[in-house]
Each structure stands twice: as structure tokens, then as C-alpha cells.
């Protein structure tokens, strides 16, 4: 068996320490090594966005990052989203707006939405569509997803305003 490399990182606010082959992607490490199967594999070549995660706060396709590259860094997956009240509002907005059918693209859509709203709290519809265009959905026709992101932004703005 090939040699494995030790990786230490923070995933969803918890320290992790695991072994992986240098050729294994972050996506494979999350799913097969760490059992975090919420992050999905739709294409494995960066074209569908189903494997989106936050790496040190930045939106990345985890299939295009090697597992060994996260040494000392922080990763957030769909399983860790609910730790932020703001992200929970995005999740609730997806449910309320019925912004999903099969749900397979949903973890990636949620992560991409969080990344967008972190940098741009009140995005226009065009901005939402442009930012999210790396995430494919085959079920919904996207309109409900756009509405869900808008509704989450509106909701978050009322909370900000109240504070």
C-alpha cells in the first residue's frame, strides 16, 4: 500500500488528525476518510460545485484541493454550517423557499450562498446568479434558489439592523 501522510487541520471548528494518500483530494478525505458525506461528488473535476466547502473562509471546490493542502488550515462543510446563526438562516430560507428537489446540489449551494453573503450582504439578483453560476442544479430551474438567497439576505439584514 502507498505511504500515507499525516494531516492536522480544523474542520467545522473541531481539530482533526488523519492519514491520507498524497493523491487524495480534500473531497475524498472528507467523505471516505472522515465520514463527512454531506459534501457531494457530482463530477470530480470542478465543473458542478456539489463539493463546495469553505477553506479558510474562501469558497473552493474540494475535489480540486488535495487533502494534504489543508494542513494547519480551517475547513467548513455543510455539516458545520449550523454553528453560525447566519448560516442557519440560509438553511431555513432554502427550506421555506423550497429551493431544492433532490437535494444533492444543496450542500454546495448553501456553502456558496454563505460565502457570497459573507462578502456581499445585500447582493442583487444578477450578482447572486453570477456568483452561484459554478454550482449546477438539475432539478429546480434556479429561480427558487435565487429567491432563497435573497430571502436569507433580507432576513440577515433585519437582524443586523436590530443589533
Amino acid at each position: 500500500m502507498p505511504d500515507r501522510t499525516r494531516v492536522r487541520a480544523i474542520i467545522n471548528h473541531e481539530p482533526v488528525d488523519f492519514l491520507c494518500e498524497p493523491r487524495q483530494s480534500l473531497l475524498d478525505c472528507l467523505r471516505d476518510v472522515l465520514g463527512l458525506t454531506g459534501t457531494k461528488c457530482g463530477c470530480n473535476d470542478g465543473n458542478c460545485g456539489a463539493c463546495s466547502v469553505l477553506l479558510d473562509g474562501r469558497l473552493v471546490n474540494s475535489c480540486l484541493v488535495l487533502g494534504v493542502e489543508i494542513e494547519g488550515r480551517s475547513v467548513v462543510t455543510v455539516e458545520g454550517l449550523a454553528q453560525w446563526p447566519g448560516a442557519r438562516i440560509i438553511q431555513e430560507s432554502f427550506v421555506e423557499q423550497d429551493a431544492l428537489q433532490c437535494g444533492f446540489c444543496t450542500p454546495g449551494m448553501l456553502i456558496a450562498s454563505k460565502a457570497l453573503l459573507d462578502r456581499s450582504p445585500r447582493p442583487s439578483e444578477d450578482a447572486i446568479r453570477a456568483w452561484m453560476s459554478g454550482n449546477l442544479c438539475r432539478c429546480t430551474g434556479y429561480e427558487r434558489l435565487v429567491r432563497a438567497v435573497q430571502a436569507a439576505a433580507d432576513h440577515l439584514a433585519t437582524i443586523e439592523g436590530a443589533e
Binding site: K40, V78, F104, T106
Partner: protein, 760 residues
């Protein structure tokens, strides 16, 4: 953006829009899909595939792979018993098990790029990948045939030496690639054509396209020491998987347990499987569980896309707009084995119209591409593109509004069809009138601006829907909550729409229903969730189960009171005795179940033989850039007869999703092959599906013409909304720039060729 044209309702639950019951699991990552299944000691399987489109297999040597550390099993065609030569229904189509076996692992020939040769399992996915590279296969390449017309030439390379054309005249006598030729006829088509004032004839071609579900195929198999095989898989039909595995492994049906997982998109493509048999063989040999997950490349290359086609359509009409005759020739690629959805295409293409004289010739043709599978209204989108485009041209020639032209010719109850039978309970006129009267159709046409030419198009699509077998069990817990177990796999939100029907029928709040998908061991036979059948046919099973359950609950109340159950009445959660005047709540009767006879359950098992068809129109505004040939959608409205919308939000979502897939089919998607038959674009960059930037906010208008064969009037809604999209976009392109597109996808090259900007 959904508006509903609905008669007044008297329902408590039906027609509301609660959150779907599976939404919570899907926004937290907790939902378990086929690719997520993990079992203790699980090994990872991979499939070796042919690099050739057509070749003889001279030799397979797996010894080097078997010797690789970490490899736990290798499976080949030699591990599969001989299959019976019998054709069975699978999903919305049919298949012969002899061909299914050959598609599982190639026999003496490979028939398409990606055809499975054998499979390996190893303790890590990486080791399995390494092992594939160590399998030596010697091929003798043969000339491939990739195009339906080429495959029908007299000197074409033959895929199956024993194939003979099936037709009404009996089997043919010579080797051929034409698996079947069928002709449907009504009236006198030649005479009808002679009576026409306007005749339009055009030829069409459509590319092979894929369902594009985001989750690839996956199956995880495990054997017990007693020989019980359990398969966890992403499928539309657990019982269909069980039947196929039974046929291919010669293993008793009841000793195969198929457990459906969450399904990450299917659209017909998961009516059958491509990983389950390999996983089962590998797991048996390895004596440990094995999971096989396909890559995106494998999914595009080697699952069942829908047919590429060549079609010719001729329509004649009088000056007053009445169609006098229609003719069509449909040649559909089946892929490597017979079974193209060409009869379904024929059945749908003129179904919306009263056509007195017609003829449709259908050809089911094998080519060196993957065997086609079901895709949302199988076969109908292609033939509708051809038929509706010609009808639009006839209307244009007559100077008539396309909706007015269709209203003159639209079918009604009792109209005889070219493919046989007559319509019953159809809502086509209501759909056309709602289209004509809607805001989008009445709005001024978009104006052109320099090189940006804008236009509007409309088209009408038909899908027949399906009924078939469904099984539902309702069980009441001691606190009164009710579990709903069905063998129907939820691919579109049917746990929610079935629970809503159960709540309505039982007079209980939706929160008291807990719907779940069962498996082949725990539920009665339920056919695949295809043909837009689940909310309709399984809904009927729900209503039967609810009736049964209410009868049992009344008996239990009667037993508690010591009265005759005929004297017990039930309404909205309360049982009353007309003899004693006593009353008990639903929960109280449920709470007494131990004292009154044990578990309380209601069953509904149905085989639904009649169902209501669905019609949908699309109104599309497009913008054509005459310098680049690019086409952009500005506005899109879907109008559909949905029978009765149990959950109007989910119905509208189906309409938007179907429209979006239609947009991809119309403008972007298509398989590309080189001259040797190797697929050039098996990835989501080069096989381009619509993104957020390609689809406008699709408006939906739900027309409700209840189907009387369902207790609440439900019609299937999932498939009809894809059918007419390419034709509507083609009509809009014609309105914008005055040219008729006849090839799918309608890419920039075709537009610029038709505009004379570049040479054909």
C-alpha cells in the same frame, strides 16, 4: 412566480404548500444518498470499460490486477450465468435480459465506448483504480456505426449478427441494425395531403442527450452467510432492481433485498442500474461489502442517455386552418441494444390534435453508443420538436396565430389518435385558452435592437403518464401518529405529496403523518417512480389504505365501547357512537390498541390501469445575437393541466425543472463523438447544462382539470413540462430572425449557418 387557475377548494391539506418532509435532512448534509452508503469492512469497486466503440474481445487477462496488494475480487462475464432470452418492462421501456447481461459485462464484442468489460474491488478506491490499469485486454477493432441513418444503410457494419427487424409483417430475414419498424395509420394520409392548401415538410436531427442527474449511479452490496443479498442503491424502483438482479444472478427474489437511498436526481435515468450487479458479484467473491460508484465520465459515457434522432414530418392544412393530414418518419437511435423510445415518440407527437388522416413510421435502430434509457417523457421531446416546428410553420404560412391554429385543431374527449385509441378526460383546450389569455402571451412582443433580434414562440406538448402497481401501509402508533410506508421511491417530493393525501383522507393534520420509503423486504411491490405516476397511482393506494385504516379504527372504537362498528362514525379526528353518544379522539382509539386487538394498520395495494394525460404549453421570448449566433431566453412561461395540485409549490417546481432541462436540450446539450466512436465530451464542462446565467425566472400557470379516476383528481405532472420546450424556442428563434432551426442543440453554428453568416 406561480399563479394558479383553480376551482374553489374544499380541502384542508390539499392545495397547501408545507415544507417538504425531506428538506431538513437535505440542508444539513444528513440525507444519505447512494454514493454515501458505508458498511463495515466495505471495499471499493471499479469497472473497466472499453476504449473502443466497436471491437471484438480477443483476450482478457486479470492476473496482474488480482496480484496487486489490496485487491479483494475481480468479476468478469464468466461470473454471470446465461440470461434468458426474454423481454420485460423496466421503468418506462422494455429490455431483453440477454442484452442486459451483455451490457453488464461484454460478451465477445464491445458495442460502445465505455462498455463494461470486468470489475475489481479493493480496500481503497485508489487501489481499485490502480488495479484497473493492470488488466490486459486485447481488442480487434471493428468499424463503428454512430448515426441512425448510417446504421440503416445496406452495407452498414452490423452490431448484432442475430438481429432481425421486428414488424407487423413478422421478423425480417437478413442481419440488420433495424430492431423494429412499426407503422401507425389513420384515415387516408395521401388523400388528406391532396386536400391541403398548404403543405410543409421538414427533416430534423437531434443529438443524444443525458438526464444530467447530479448524483452518479452507485450501489453497495453485501451478502449474509445465509445467501441474503442486500443492495443499497440510488434508484427510482427498488423492485425493478431486484427483478433485474434476480434475472442476471439466478438468485431467488425474496433473498434479494433492495434498499433505496435518497436519490440525487434521476429523471428516468435511474429506472435501471449500472452498478448493482457488479457490486453484488464483487461482494460475493470478496466475502465483504462492496460499493461501486460511477464517475461523471462513466455516467455520461456509459449509462442510458436518450436517443439521437433523424425525423421527417409533413403536415397539410386547409386555408381555414384545419389540418387535413400529417405524416412522420421517426428514426431513433437505441444505442447498442434495441429499445429506443420511438413508439412513445410516435404516441405523443400528434396526440394534441384531431388529425383525420395520418401515418407515422417508426424505426428502432441500434448504433455503437450506450443503450438509451428513459429521460423525462421518453421519446416525446424529440418528436414534439419536429411536429410542433412544422405546425408552427403551417400556422405562419396560413397567417394564423399559433394558439388560434391549435385551438382549431385541438383534440377533445373521444378524438381518435393515429397511434390507436381515443382520448378521455383531457384538458387540452383549457390549457390552450389559459395560454392565450395569460399576461405573457398578451404582453407586447419584445422589440429588436440592432444586432439583438427578439421574438416570441409557443408550442404544445403531450405526455400520456402512467399508473401501474403501488403499495402503501399506514400504521397507527399509540399516540395517534401515523407512519406511511410505501415501496414508491421519492424522487420528486412524493413523501410530502403522499402524506398530504393521507392527511386529507384521514382528516388529520399533516404533522401526524410520518412518510417513509420502504424496501423490497418491508413493503409490497411498487413499480418504478417513473412515468409521472407516483403522486397519482401511489396516491390512489394511499387513499385505499386510508379507507382501510378508518374501517379498522372504527372497529377498535366499537370494541372499546362494546357496540356494533356500523354505528361508529368518524369525522376530523373524532369517533362517535350513535348508540351511546360516546366520543373518542383519534389518539384515544390509537392508545387503546393493545386492549382492542393489537396493531392497527391499513393497506392499499393497487395496479392502476387508467390514468389522465397531461398537456403543457411553453411561451418563450428569446434574444438572438445575429453577430455571434447566441440565443438568450428573456422570458419563459409554462402552462400545464395538472389535474389537481396536491402541493402547488412542488408542482410548479416540477414545471420549472422540466422547462430548464428542455432549455438545455434545446440550446446547449449534445453528445459529441469522433469518427472512431469515442465520446469527446464526457464531462460537465464540454457537456454544457444550463447554469444560473442561462435560465430566466420561469413563470408557471397551473390549470386544474381534475382527472376523475383519482380521488382528488391528480394527473402526473413531472414529465409533460419538458416536451415542447425545444419547439417553443425554435418558434421564438424563427420569430426573431426568420429562419427555421431543425437540429438540436440549436447552437450558434447552426444559427449563423441559417443566417448565411458562415457556410453550412
Amino acid at each position: 412566480m406561480a399563479t394558479t387557475k383553480t376551482p374553489p377548494k374544499t380541502f384542508a391539506v390539499i392545495g397547501t404548500t408545507p415544507p417538504r418532509v425531506d428538506a431538513g435532512a437535505k440542508v444539513t448534509g444528513a440525507a444519505v444518498y447512494g454514493i454515501d452508503v458505508m458498511l463495515p469492512r466495505m471495499a471499493y469497486g471499479r469497472i473497466l470499460r472499453s476504449p473502443h466503440a466497436h471491437a471484438r474481445i480477443v483476450r482478457i487477462d486479470t492476473s496482474r490486477a488480482e496480484a496487486l496488494p489490496g485487491v479483494v475480487a475481480v468479476a468478469t462475464a464468466a461470473d454471470l450465468p446465461e440470461a434468458v432470452d426474454r423481454t420485460d418492462r423496466v421503468g418506462e421501456g422494455t429490455v431483453n435480459y440477454r442484452y442486459t447481461r451483455d451490457a453488464t459485462f461484454a460478451g465477445d464484442k464491445v458495442l460502445y465506448h465505455g462498455h463494461p468489460i470486468c470489475a475489481v474491488a479493493a480496500v481503497t478506491p485508489e487501489a481499485a483504480e490502480d488495479a484497473l490499469a493492470l488488466i490486459d485486454v486485447e481488442y480487434e477493432p471493428l468499424e463503428p456505426v454512430l448515426d441512425v441513418r448510417g446504421a440503416m444503410e445496406p452495407d452498414a457494419p452490423i452490431l448484432h449478427p442475430d438481429l432481425r427487424t421486428r414488424s407487423l409483417a413478422g421478423p425480417g430475414s437478413t442481419p440488420t441494425n433495424v430492431a423494429a419498424h412499426m407503422r401507425f395509420e389513420i384515415g387516408d394520409p395521401d388523400q388528406g395531403m391532396a386536400e391541403a392548401d398548404v403543405v410543409v415538410e421538414r427533416e430534423f436531427q437531434t443529438a443524444t442527450v443525458h438526464q444530467g442527474y447530479m448524483e452518479p449511479h452507485a450501489a453497495t452490496a453485501a451478502w449474509s452467510p445465509e445467501g441474503i443479498l442486500t443492495i443499497y442503491t440510488t434508484t427510482q424502483g427498488a423492485f425493478d432492481v431486484r427483478t433485474r438482479v434476480h434475472e442476471l444472478l439466478h438468485h431467488p427474489l425474496a433473498d434479494i433485498r433492495v434498499v433505496p437511498t435518497e436519490v440525487g436526481g434521476a429523471f428516468g435515468g435511474k429506472n435501471t442500474g449500472y452498478t448493482d450487479v457488479a457490486a453484488a458479484l464483487l461482494a460475493r467473491k470478496a466475502e465483504r461489502p462492496v460499493r461501486v460508484v460511477m464517475s461523471r465520465e462513466e455516467t455520461l459515457m456509459a449509462t442510458g442517455p436518450t436517443s439521437g434522432t433523424w425525423m421527417r414530418v409533413t403536415v397539410g392544412a386547409r386555408r381555414d386552418g384545419r389540418i387535413t393530414a400529417a405524416k412522420a418518419e421517426l428514426r431513433y437511435e437505441a444505442g447498442a441494444y434495441p429499445g429506443a423510445p420511438v413508439f412513445s415518440g410516435a404516441n405523443c407527437m400528434f396526440a394534441s390534435y384531431d388529425i383525420p388522416n395520418g401515418r407515422i413510421d417508426c424505426y428502432d435502430v441500434v448504433v455503437n453508443k450506450p443503450r438509451t434509457g428513459d429521460y423525462r417523457s421518453p421519446g416525446a421531446t424529440q418528436s414534439a420538436f419536429a411536429a410542433e416546428t412544422v405546425l408552427d410553420e403551417v400556422a405562419t404560412c396560413l397567417g394564423m396565430d399559433p394558439i388560434a391554429f391549435r385551438l382549431i385543431n385541438c383534440a377533445c374527449d373521444g378524438t381518435s389518435r393515429i397511434t390507436g385509441g381515443a382520448h378521455e378526460h383531457i384538458g387540452i383546450r383549457q390549457v390552450l385558452e389559459a395560454t392565450r389569455d395569460c399576461a405573457h402571451y398578451r404582453a407586447p412582443r419584445p422589440k429588436s435592437d440592432g444586432y439583438l433580434r427578439r421574438g416570441r414562440g409557443v408550442a404544445l406538448g403531450f405526455w400520456g403518464n402512467w399508473g401501474a402497481r403501488s403499495s402503501v401501509t399506514l400504521s397507527v402508533a399509540e399516540d395517534g401518529t401515523v407512519s406511511l410506508l410505501t415501496g414508491s421511491v421519492d424522487i420528486t417530493g412524493t413523501r410530502t405529496s403522499l402524506a398530504m393525501q393521507a392527511a386529507e383522507a384521514l382528516g388529520l393534520p399533516l404533522e401526524m403523518l410520518a412518510p417513509a420509503m420502504g424496501d423490497t423486504q418491508t413493503t409490497g411491490h411498487s413499480d418504478s417512480s417513473g412515468g409521472s405516476r407516483t403522486t397519482m397511482a401511489t396516491g390512489i393506494a394511499v387513499c385505499r389504505a386510508a379507507e382501510d385504516l378508518l374501517a379498522r379504527m372504527e372497529e377498535r372504537a366499537a370494541a372499546w365501547w362494546g357496540v356494533d362498528s356500523a354505528t361508529v362514525e368518524y369525522a376530523r379526528g373524532v369517533f362517535t357512537s350513535s348508540t351511546t353518544g360516546d366520543a373518542m379522539s383519534w389518539a384515544e382509539v390509537a392508545g387503546h390498541q393493545s386492549e382492542t386487538g393489537g396493531a392497527i394498520r391499513g393497506h392499499g395495494d393497487v395496479n392502476v390501469r387508467k390514468w389522465g394525460a397531461a398537456y403543457a404549453t411553453h411561451i418563450v421570448d428569446v434574444e438572438v445575437d445575429v453577430e455571434t449566433g447566441g440565443v438568450r431566453l428573456l422570458r419563459h412561461t409554462v402552462v400545464q393541466d395538472v389535474g389537481r395540485a396536491i402541493h402547488p409549490g412542488q408542482v410548479a417546481s416540477q414545471m420549472q425543472g422540466g422547462a430548464t432541462q428542455g432549455i438545455g436540450w434545446a440550446l446547449y446539450e449534445g453528445y459529441a463523438y469522433d469518427a472512431q466512436g469515442r465520446m469527446l465530451n464526457p464531462n460537465l464542462l464540454d457537456y454544457k447544462m444550463p447554469t444560473y446565467l442561462d435560465v430566466p425566472a420561469i413563470e408557471t400557470i397551473l390549470v386544474e382539470v381534475p382527472y376523475p379516476g383519482h380521488p382528488y383528481g391528480v394527473r402526473g405532472v413531472g414529465e409533460a413540462p419538458i416536451v415542447a420546450v425545444p419547439a417553443a424556442i425554435a418558434a421564438a428563434i424563427h420569430d426573431a430572425v426568420g429562419v427555421r432551426t431543425t437540429r438540436l442543440p440549436m447552437g450558434a453554428t447552426q444559427i449563423l449557418q441559417l443566417l448565411g453568416v458562415i457556410d453550412p
